[in-house]
Structure formats: C-alpha cells, structure tokens
Amino acid sequence: MSNIVLQVEDLHTSFFTRAGEVKAVDGVSFFVREGETFGIVGESGCGKSVTGLSILRLLPEPSGQVTKGKIILEGKNLLELSKKTMRAYRGKMISMILQDPMTSLNPVYTIGDQISESVRLHQDLPENMVEGEVISALRLLRIPDPEVRTREYPFQLSGGMRQRVVGAIAMSCRPRLLIADEPTTALDATIQAQYLALFEDIQVKTNVAIIFITHDFGVISRICDRVGVMYAGKILETAPTRDIFKAPKHPYTAALISSVPQLDKKDEKLFSIEGQPPSLLHLPPGCRFQPRCTVAMDICKEQEPPEVKLDENHSVSCWRVK
C-alpha cells in the first residue's frame, strides 16, 4: 500500500454569518494515498468545495473558519503552519483546478505568463530554464503546439483547452496533492471524457494524489479509486468505488446511485430522492439524512449514528448498518 499523502481528521469548517453559524463541514475524515484518486461526491452545498478550500486554507475571510480538526499533509498539520509557509505550500505542494475554465484564467495575461509565474515563484530555476518548464507543463496536459500557446491569451482558446491550461498551472510545480473541484462540469461530454483520461495519464506520470470533487457518479466510476459520499457537511459512507456501486451500504448512497440515469433501462421514470437537503443552520436531530430516508427508524431521529468500519477501506455512518 502506498504512502498516505493527505489525512483529514475530524475537520469542522463553519461560516459565521448574521443568521448564525453555518456548519459547512461538520466532522469530515478521509485520507488520500500517493497515486490514488479519492472522490468526494454529493449534492450542491453539501460542503465538498468548502472541504477543498479548507485544505488550501483559502476560505473567504473573515466569515469562514476551520473550527476543529487536523489536515495532515505528509506529516505536517497545515492548520498549524504560518501564513507564509502555507502560501509556499500552495501551488507547490497542493494545487487546485476550479470548475469554470472560462473564468478561472486571468484574461489580460498570456498563458505563458500565467504558468511561468508559478514556476518562478516555487522553483529556484535560472531564468533560461523557466520557458522549458512551462512547455513541459503544457505537454503534460497534452496541449498541442505548446510553444505557440504560451504566447496566446485565454480568450484565444476553447473551453476544453483552457481547462487543460488550468491543469498545466496546477501541475507546473509537480504538487503532491491535486484538488479537482468539478473540473469537468463545465465541459462538453466528449471533452469531458478526454479530460478525465488526462487525469489518469498525469497520475501515472507524476504519482500525484488527487481529490476529485463532483456531483456526478458517472465521473466517479470513471476515475476514482475510493469515494466518500458527503451529505450536509458530513461524509456518510467511504468505500472503494467498485464496492460502493456493487453494494452501497448507506441508504443515501443507494438512493444517489439509483438516481443516475442508465442507458439500458428504457421507459422508466428516473428515481429521485424526496425532499431537500437540510439547512446547515438548523440540522435535524439525530442522523442528518433521516428526514429524507425511506428506511429511517426511531433511533435515527434521536441519535447521530457512529461511524462503523466494515473493513479496512469501507466505513458507514448509519444505524441500519451493524
């Protein structure tokens, strides 16, 4: 088994608003190994992006704060680092790819400028080697004619190509951990498939650990080794991808998987989960999924279920699972 690159333990992140404390991430634990892709899947607003931003310590200030927990990257707790050290980690040790390639590149600087900026900042290279590093980052993301692209501006590239550039920026300093926050959501289906293939390729070449945030189970099945199902700020089930599709243990996971459209089932009404996710300001008592759960019992409304480890890689928080 490879080394663990990132270990998140009991992470709590809250936003302090006028309406009160919004517990966006409420006790999340997971780990990612070297060369592994860990998927975080969940509905919008379940706290998956906030988890990513918490790891980078880039929560919107001053309202967003990590209130509890540990984020350990290769033995160092990121939450204990000074601001300056943390900044040196960003882009070098940890990188992130954002959702919308149309807005995540700065429109007034060339692609070359935007990649070389990272290279200069984090790698102590003589100036004449910077260009080569930039080209190699573009090559890693299989961007055609990298020498020409470096002189182009974002508006001259297609959405798919821009997202590759964002990837090239993220990978330019060969980080240990890459957080991909819905990187394919804004792309066309065909481009999406190409982009996902790139991730596998990059991982083979660099052995980077990837956290892949998405709401799309199709994407999860395509590239994740293990997956955590997140709901209202908590991971309800963690398991290897194959196990979770074959035998989901948590009712929420099972419901999510049955609501994925499948081509071989014709003329059937698509399954959907009744109700809405709870407000993070006022969580329901007991299990947070209980109001929407079809198999809820009395205890579910009273006490929060503990995490049960079924085996080394599979754990679930549900009273139904013993």
């Binding site: 882009g91 992130m96 995540s104 700065n106 501006y153």
Partner: protein, 307 residues
C-alpha cells in the same frame, strides 16, 4: 491597431469641423454683442463705425469664412471687448488653470486608487467604512458649498489661509482641496466597486491557489482588470483640467480659463467663446482617442478585435 487609430483621428476631425460650425452660429443666435458694447448715447454713425471695426457688419456667412481662413493661419481672432488676441488671453489664463487643476487631479487620482483599492481589499473593515462614508459625503455635498464653508472656516474664522488669489503657495491649498473633494469621492467609489467585482472572480481565486503573495494578487492580477471603468471616467475628467473648475475659480477669484469663459459668455465675446469651446472639443476628442488606445494596451482582447 494603426488602422484603427487613423480611422479614429479622421472621425475626430469630422467631429471637430461639425463642432466649429455649430459653435460659431450658436453663439450668434445668443444675441448681439453690440447691445452690450455700444452705449445708447452713440450716434448712428459712431455705432456703425464700431460695428464695422469689429467685423460684425458683415453677413454670418462672410464672418464664418474669415473665421475659418484666419484659424488655418493660427489666428483665433481678437476679443471684442478687450482688444487682445484670443491666443494671448488663453496664454495668460491656461497656465493659471493648470496650476490649480493638475495638482488637484494628480492628488485625487493617487488617493482614489490607493483608498479605493484598500477599501476593496479590506472589505467591510473600519477602513472600508471610512471610505464609503467619505464617498457618500463627497457626492452629497455640492462643491461650491464646501468651498465657501472651507473659506469661512479656514480663512475667515481661523485665519490660517488666504481667502482668494494665487500669489503664494498657501493660496493653492483651499482651491486644490476643494477640487480634490469634488473629483475624489466618485472616482474612489468607482475604483472600489470595480476592484470588488474583480476580486470576486475565479482567476483571483486561482492566483491565490498558485500561492502568490497578496501584493501580487492585488496589484498585478486584480488591478489591471479593474482599470477599464475608472479609465473611462478619467477620460471624461481630463478636459475639465483645461476649462478649469468654473465654480472654484469664481469662488477663489482665480484668473483662469473658467473665469474667462464665464465672463466671455456673459459679454457675448464671440471669438473667446468659440476658441475655448473648440479647444475643449479638441481635448475631449484627443483624450477619448488616448483612452481607446489605453484600453487596447490593458485588455488584449480589445487589441485583437481591432487588428
């Protein structure tokens, strides 16, 4: 880009010709200067003589022809009242105006950018609230009232500064400050809101993800994108540097362009009004062209669309 500039210069020339014609005839529609120049006791003969000497006896068409002919030789005519060439009058007033407006403008812009950027960076802080308060105050209080109050407090009651005139550096303090008070708030608000929009964007998030220091995020990645809107307004402010602040010059008895155009308008001193109006038109057209070129410099997308 060169082609774009040439086209814009040609357009500017056409506009300038139009403005020249319009101003020439409009001032003449405003009334007869003879009514103000000639005393009612003059005999018909004397009256005609004065009219002839000022060239007002000719038809408007003939006057226009002479005006254009002289203008191409660099002669803007002579004041009807002061019997001085208009160019000499502008030569005397313009430096006075610039001495007040240029420092005010530079000071306003430096402060507007500094305060606006700081307010956006530290949003909702004590600092930001101060800037917001100042902006609302500045936009709500009329400039002339502030100027008069400043004179009343600092010159009349406290006797720290002179009331009017421009003989010593101390004379510059109040006029410059009141002009800053007029130009700063709007600009500062604009810089702030423009910066806030940009700071909210995904590419700023990405710049932080890259590990860039906040200084680079703000001054390199955000500022250049936030410049477009303020630049437009700066372009619109620049011509006032030449015309001067009409009101400020009146209050502080400042012998500049603002005082001159006000007087010339009341006295129906056609050549003076024409000259200043055309000068302002040239300024506006020139500045607009400059702003357009700067847009292209700041935003590569504009640059590419034009070539």
């Amino acid at each position: 880009m060169t082609r774009f500039i040439i086209v814009r210069i040609l357009q500017a020339i056409v506009a300038l010709i139009g403005i020249t014609i319009l101003v020439f005839f409009l001032v003449r529609v405003s009334g007869d200067p003879m009514a103000l120049i000639a005393s009612p006791n003059l005999s018909e003969e004397q009256y005609q003589k004065i009219k002839e000497s000022l060239g007002l006896d000719k038809s408007w068409g003939e006057q226009f022809w002479i005006y254009i002919k002289e203008m191409t030789r660099g002669n803007l005519g002579e004041s009807l009242i002061r019997e001085k060439p208009v160019t000499t009058m502008i030569g005397e007033s313009l430096p006075n105006t610039l001495k007040m407006t240029v420092p005010s403008f530079v000071l306003s812009m430096l402060l507007a950018f500094f305060l606006g950027i700081m307010a956006a960076t530290y949003r909702d802080s004590f600092w930001d609230n101060g800037v917001k308060f100042l902006a609302v105050l500045g936009q709500a209080l009329p400039g002339f009232w502030v100027a008069i109050m400043a004179v009343l407090i600092f010159s009349v009651y406290l006797e720290w500064l002179p009331v009017a005139g421009m003989s010593t550096p101390a004379h510059y303090v109040l006029p410059v400050l009141t002009m800053v008070f007029f130009m700063l708030p709007g600009m500062m608000r604009l810089v702030r809101s423009s910066m806030l929009d940009v700071l909210d964007s995904e590419y700023i998030k990405l710049a932080r993800i890259k590990g860039l220091p906040e200084r680079v995020v703000i001054w390199k990645h955000a500022l250049r994108n936030a410049l477009i809107t303020p630049l437009t307004i700066i372009g619109m402010l620049l011509p006032t540097l030449v015309v001067g602040a009409v009101i400020s010059e009146q209050i502080f008895n400042w012998p500049g362009m603002g005082s001159m155009i006000l007087r010339a308008t009341f006295e129906r001193d056609f050549p003076v009004v024409q000259a200043i109006t055309v000068l302002v038109a040239i300024m506006v057209l020139g500045v607009n062209l400059l702003v357009d070129i700067l847009y292209a410099y700041i935003d590569p997308q504009i640059r590419y669309q034009r070539s």
